[in-house]
């Protein structure tokens, strides 16, 4: 990165953060601090909901996932439009009519205090841990790009987001997210256009898609019923539906965003904006990854994209073996490149037999090169003593640094930062709000002034910021960052959704039955998670179904007793 890149990066990120802090610095009213000014329009809400979900992980890891595994991950989002419509019809009008600060307040009104606290505690646990992962991802990018220490990068990025979130609350989050998502769209579009321009001379987009398809990178939809496959149409639609219902409908970081709308209409349209845009947005990011794969078939890629780790180990005792693998990879890639050139030339000339022969040669060479790459990654992991090296996370940033012009590099690094800060601020805002409203105001201090609760909310937001930074500093991440976040969500989300579905649709079930049912369902999900090897998306469905079924059974067993206890809880938990 040169001074121009630094100017773009610091100018956009610090400028947006400073603007958000300055514009929202005088908030003293609790409702305004937690829900905003109440005049937010649907487009701002839609962009805010989108920015909250799309973290740096989305833009850092997803192109790498497209590079490695193709478009199949897009199926993970198939449930989102269905879930958003359901939430707009059922969840949203209830939240708005009750005028709640948090989704868990509704559980208190419908059931009892312990169920409200249980739902809020599950949110705090999983979102608190998830917030650590959210802050870790851009820190990897920056530590790789600039050679900064990882811990310094984590602390610095955490502090920037903490300042404007603590000062301005929900308004600051909405305001900054609008500009941050603008930076994200501008950066990703620029990267896409530059990538198209850097494809080999004479290669059309259909040619590029043909190459990507040949190497199985365009397999977007898989209707297989095999539950062991991670991404299929069915797991994405059914499991993804439950994941999206839980995330958008019951996760306070999202609920707080759309409850800040000026009216039910604005909130609804904001959700529908996401229902229409979510799948195409994820498709474009994955397609970028698939086209990166095509680009690197004609431009020699590094044998391992995490070049910092590779260079460090290549200078050590394992250096000779690593260099041998690198030389073998380059030779295999050169052979593949020649086969691909022959294939495209034969294809353009209409010589089908020659095209088929060259295509088969390219496939074989790619398989061989891929084998060497896997060996190189394993050798690197062994040499560095790390059990997991997710090379996919380094694909996009390597392309950015090696092939984009200065200025655009700064813009793309700003994209990762903007995405990280936008999702992080919403998470911290929600964590602070839930701790204040559902625990502090409800259990510890019930009759204080607005000023007191605003101050408490600021302190809790800072506390959660410190927890997230601490978790990020000690994170031992598995496999791939984006999957780790989704897996974490799936273990808890299903049961929380079950609580809300019982509240909405099982009117005879009381607080005691649903509380113990939710506990049992959560234990069941933990047990299954550690004993089965099914797609993690299914745990959303299992957790939710178990909570609903257990609630109905337990209520039938408890009969009058359960309902009577529930009624006492209802009376005491009204705000």
């Amino acid at each position: 990165m040169n001074p121009l890149d630094y100017a773009v990066l610091l100018g956009t990120m610090l400028g947006i953060a400073a603007f958000g802090t300055w514009r929202t610095r005088r908030h003293r009213d609790l409702r305004r601090y937690l829900q905003g000014a109440g005049n937010t329009r649907w487009l701002t809400i839609g962009l805010s909901v989108m920015a909250t979900q799309a973290s740096a992980i989305t833009f850092l890891s997803t192109p790498g996932q497209g590079y490695e595994d193709g478009l199949g991950f897009v199926q993970n989002y198939f449930g989102a439009p269905l879930a958003l419509v359901f939430i707009a019809v059922v969840f949203l009008p209830i939240y708005r009519r009750l005028n709640v600060y948090t989704a868990y307040e509704y559980l208190g009104k419908r059931f009892d205090a312990k169920t409200r606290l249980f739902g809020a505690a599950l949110f705090l646990l999983q979102r608190g841990l998830g917030a650590g992962i959210t802050i870790y991802a851009p820190a990897i990018v920056l530590s790789t790009v600039m050679g900064w220490r990882l811990d310094v990068t984590i602390i610095a990025s955490g502090l920037v987001v903490l300042v404007y979130t603590v000062v301005g609350g929900s308004d600051a989050v909405n305001l900054t997210q609008k500009y941050q998502i603008g930076v994200i769209f501008a950066g990703m579009l620029t990267a896409f256009l530059v990538l198209l321009g850097r494809l080999p001379h004479g290669m059309s987009l259909p040619d590029a898609l043909t190459v990507a398809g040949t190497f199985h990178k365009l397999e977007a939809v898989d209707f297989s019923l095999n539950v062991q496959r991670r991404y299929t149409f069915w797991s994405g639609t059914l499991g993804g539906l439950f994941l999206a219902l839980s995330y958008f409908g019951t996760d306070q970081s999202q609920v707080q965003r759309y409850l800040s709308g000026a009216s039910l209409r604005e909130s609804r349209l904001g959700l529908m904006f996401n229902a229409v845009c979510k799948i195409p947005m994820q498709f474009c990011i994955l397609l970028l990854g698939a086209l990166l794969f095509v680009f690197y078939q004609f431009e020699t890629p590094p044998v391992v994209f995490n070049q910092a780790a590779w260079t460090a180990q290549a200078a050590g005792p394992a250096g000779a073996h690593l260099r041998e693998l690198e030389a073998g990879f380059k030779a295999a890639h050169a052979e593949e490149r020649m086969d691909l050139d022959r294939w495209l030339a034969a294809r353009h000339a209409g010589d089908a037999p020659a095209a088929a022969a060259a295509r088969a040669g390219a496939l074989a060479a790619e398989q061989y090169a891929d084998g060497i790459r896997a060996d190189a990654q394993a050798a690197l992991a062994k040499a560095s003593g790390r059990t997991s090296t997710s090379d996919a996370d380094y694909v996009f940033i390597t392309f950015i640094l090696d092939h984009l012009p200065h200025g655009v590099i700064g813009l793309l690094v700003a994209v990762f930062f903007a995405a990280a800060l936008s999702s992080k601020s919403a998470e911290l805002n929600a964590l602070g709000s839930t701790t204040t409203v559902d625990f502090y105001r409800h259990v510890i201090r019930r009759d204080a002034s607005d000023d007191h609760y605003v101050a408490a909310s600021r302190w809790f937001t800072m506390l959660w910021g410190a927890v997230a930074i601490g978790f990020a500093l000690s994170a031992h991440l598995a496999e791939n960052l984006i999957q780790a976040v989704n897996i974490l969500g799936s273990v808890f989300y299903g049961v929380v959704l079950g609580l809300f579905l019982v509240a909405f649709f099982c009117k005879r079930v009381g607080g005691t039955a649903v509380f113990w049912a939710a506990l049992a369902a959560q234990l069941l999900v933990f047990g299954l998670y550690f004993s089965l090897s099914i797609s993690y998306l299914w745990y959303n469905f299992i957790g939710c179904a178990a909570c609903v079924v257990f609630s109905l059974i337990l209520q039938a067993v408890l009969g009058n007793r359960g309902s009577a206890i529930s009624d006492r809880g209802l009376a005491s938990s009204d705000l």
Partner: protein, 58 residues
């Protein structure tokens, strides 16, 4: 034995359904039903296009 009293539901889904029929204030679609159909139709269209992409470049 009396039947257990049902815990009150602050807002039944039926009430939400009534609001869903009100106007959107948009030039098109004018009803919420139309907005939801648009969102679901867009989902179906994307699944169809992605399936076509999968089949077109095997």
């Amino acid at each position: 034995m009396n039947a257990p009293p049902a815990p009150p539901s602050p807002r039944p889904p039926a009430a939400a359904g009534a609001e869903a029929d009100s106007a959107t204030g948009l030039p098109w679609p004018r009803t919420w039903r139309g907005v939801y159909l648009l969102a679901l139709g867009s989902f179906a269209l994307w699944v169809a296009l992605l399936t076509l992409l999968t089949k077109a470049f095997p």
